[in-house]
């Protein structure tokens, strides 16, 4: 093939940004401060962005997510489950499922990761002021709820009654043990734990989340329900909430999709015209009903 007349190769090297703020594909390098093995399948990482100025300037709202990467392995999306009111570190809790999450489970303090955050929308925490909040979390679904719950506890006066129903298959599958102990002990919130299969020495509830919820029968008056968990749990919990006369706008949840860019460009995470990475992951049930049936 004939040679082309080309400008000298290497003569037009452009730098495409220095970090996430000017290049949304470029992670900020962060260091793992500590890890907590919550359950055999769930591990929590607490990371701090190495660039001190960037870490100090980091702002996010409860519900926003980050793309956490292990260089050479890949990226995966996780909610920032520490609240914006506690900025010593950014916390992500990882359920082991595939290549990237298995590798993230192998991290130790001092290891380096990449963080592209904050991405996505957030819980409508401002609209929720003055209301009674009902949190319903299943398994790893407790993670997105944690950020909002802690934020509310750190701004306790702004919110009404706070009720938490947290369920898992077995006690060993419950994450955030220390938090849970704290929440059980607090007088400014009402915490119920339930497991599907209860051992004999289990002092809390037994039974599926939707059943326990109906039993607790929270009032729908001036309330918002925030749910997160496996799709099947969401489906039946929404049914329970409808039985309790919660309106569509009073039910908030999060959606999950395989994601890559996280910024609404790669075209992968759409449901109809909505992209889970920019129009979500937080959606109200009213919004979900407008979406094509592709959940």
């Amino acid at each position: 093939m004939p040679d082309a007349i080309t400008p000298e190769a290497g003569a037009h090297v452009t730098t495409l940004g220095s970090g996430f703020t000017d290049n949304p594909y470029l992670p900020d390098v962060a260091t793992v401060l500590e890890t907590v093995q919550e359950t055999p399948a769930i591990k929590t990482l607490r990371v701090r962005i190495d660039d001190a100025a960037r870490m100090d300037a980091f702002r996010f709202n409860p519900g926003q997510v980050g793309q956490l990467s292990l260089f050479g392995v890949g990226e995966s999306t996780f909610v920032i489950n520490s609240p914006p009111t506690r900025m010593d570190y950014l916390q992500f809790s990882i359920m082991r499922a595939g290549e990237v999450t298995a590798a993230l489970h192998g991290l130790k303090p001092g290891d380096k990761v990449g963080v592209r955050a904050p991405l996505g929308n957030w819980f409508p925490f401002e609209d929720m002021r003055g209301k009674d909040i009902v949190f319903v979390g299943g398994g790893i679904g407790m993670a997105p709820l944690r950020t909002l719950l802690l934020y509310m506890l750190d701004n306790r006066a702004d919110y009404g009654n706070i009720t938490l129903l947290y369920g898992a298959r077995t006690p060993g599958d419950m994450a955030f043990r220390d938090d849970v102990q704290d929440w059980l002990g607090r007088s400014d919130m009402n915490t119920t734990l339930t497991v599907d299969q209860a051992p004999d020495d289990w002092p809390h509830r037994a039974g599926l989340i939707p059943h326990v919820l109906l039993d607790l029968a929270p009032s729908n008056a001036n309330s918002v329900a925030v749910l997160c968990g496996p799709p099947i749990m969401i489906k039946f919990t929404v049914e329970a909430l409808k039985k309790l006369h919660f309106a569509d706008e009073q039910i908030i949840t999060t959606l999950e999709r395989r994601m890559k860019c996280g910024i609404g460009i790669c075209g992968r995470c759409n449901i109809g015209t909505k992209y889970v990475c920019v129009d979500g992951p937080v959606f109200s049930y009213a919004e979900l009903k407008e979406l094509p049936n592709e959940l």
Binding site: A11, L26, K112, C261, T273, E294
Partner: protein, 359 residues
């Protein structure tokens, strides 16, 4: 488009040399049994045929490096490693000659998502900025062209810097953008003159008429809504996708398809160096939406085809002022091994049906 120059047929190669000065010029070239865009050598007479593969790969490469990562051990503390990221790329000024309007409009489809969305894509922006697009208007349609259905057309200037039209003896070259004008000025070409410009416009109308005669454009104004209504019509989508092989030929031949994947690779086995890549991906593959748990919201090819047609003719228009994410180039039809025909799918989806009778 008042700035117009004339290029005599015999002067084309020289004019291209001048327009492409300081730039890597790409033009269609026959390579074995296909026509693809390749770097053009000085003096090379370009092939004026429409390429088998559109030039989107010049501004949106099939694969590109987003950044390299380099781990370095701290010499004073061997247990401590730092990571440095290198997000540089060599992006020379470029010029694309010989695409058609159905190729160039694709860049506008990209622009709306990559440049004007909630986040800006710096890689795409750099290449788009660096590339002059010189488009050839079509003098005759081919049997699978349907650009006049989708808001494109045989002389559409969307996405181009310069539009060249074949007239008697040569070409009229019209500037579409200020940059296009600059490039034409730099090529020291004679003015086209009013007569030639009129001749060019006559070519545009004639081709459009030929397209209309061959294949009248249906009314697709209700298509976005109809596709939403047809979403749950599983019999329809099963019938449309029965013969589909769920490969990626349609996607990779399409000038407007813009989906991509991001993957990490290592240089060597020790994990100390590597790169993060961006590469073309296609929604027809079952891997596209498959989650780590194994759950796949679009498990079957019918659901994926529904999403593809939905995205092009419903979701994108709803998000982008009615603009259809299809240029009507017809490559998905001719390139499909089993002749899946998007025209048929769109027309049938828009018609009233038993399932959804209200058109």
């Amino acid at each position: 488009m008042s700035f117009a120059r004339y290029i005599a047929r015999g002067e084309l190669a020289r004019a291209l040399d001048l327009m492409a000065r300081g730039r890597v010029a790409y033009a269609p070239r026959r390579e074995a049994d296909a026509v693809v865009f390749r770097p053009r050598a000085e003096g090379e007479e370009p092939l004026l045929a429409r390429a088998t593969v559109p030039p989107k790969g010049i501004i949106f490469p099939q694969s590109e490096r987003l950044f390299a990562f380099i781990r370095e051990k701290d010499p004073n503390d061997p247990g401590h490693t730092t990571v440095r990221l290198d997000a540089t790329a060599d992006i020379p000024p470029a010029l694309i000659f010989g695409g058609r309007p159905c190729d160039a409009r694709g860049f506008h489809i990209f622009d709306r998502v990559y440049l004007n969305g909630p986040h800006r894509d710096p890689y795409y922006a750099a290449r788009r900025d660096a590339t002059v697009v010189v488009t050839l208007a079509c003098a005759k349609p081919c049997s699978t062209c349907f650009c006049h259905w989708t808001g494109c057309g045989p002389a559409d200037t969307t996405g181009s810097d310069i539009l060249m039209t074949p007239v008697e003896g040569g070409f009229v070259a019209q500037a579409v953008t200020p940059r296009g004008q600059e490039v034409l000025e730099g090529a020291s070409l004679p003015e086209a003159g009013a007569d030639r410009v009129m001749a060019a416009e006559a070519v545009h109308s004639a081709t459009l008429s030929a397209l209309e005669a061959q294949n009248p454009a249906p009314d697709l104004s209700t298509t976005p809504r109809r596709l939403r209504e047809r979403f749950d019509d599983s019999g329809f989508w099963r019938a449309m996708s029965d013969k589909c092989l769920a490969c990626g030929a349609c996607t990779y031949l399409c000038p407007t398809c813009y989906c991509f994947n991001i993957t990490d690779e290592n240089d060597g086995g020790d994990g100390m160096r590597g790169r993060r890549l961006r590469s073309w991906d296609n929604c027809m593959s079952s891997l596209f939406t498959r989650e780590a748990s194994g759950h796949n919201p679009r498990m079957g090819k019918a659901l994926r085809l529904r999403n593809r047609v939905g995205h092009k003719f419903s979701y994108y228009p709803d998000l982008h002022e009615g603009i259809v994410s299809c240029n009507g180039c017809g490559r998905c039809i001719t390139g499909c091994p089993v002749s899946v025909d998007i025209r048929e799918m769109v027309v049938r989806a828009t018609e009233p049906s038993e399932e959804t009778p209200n058109a």
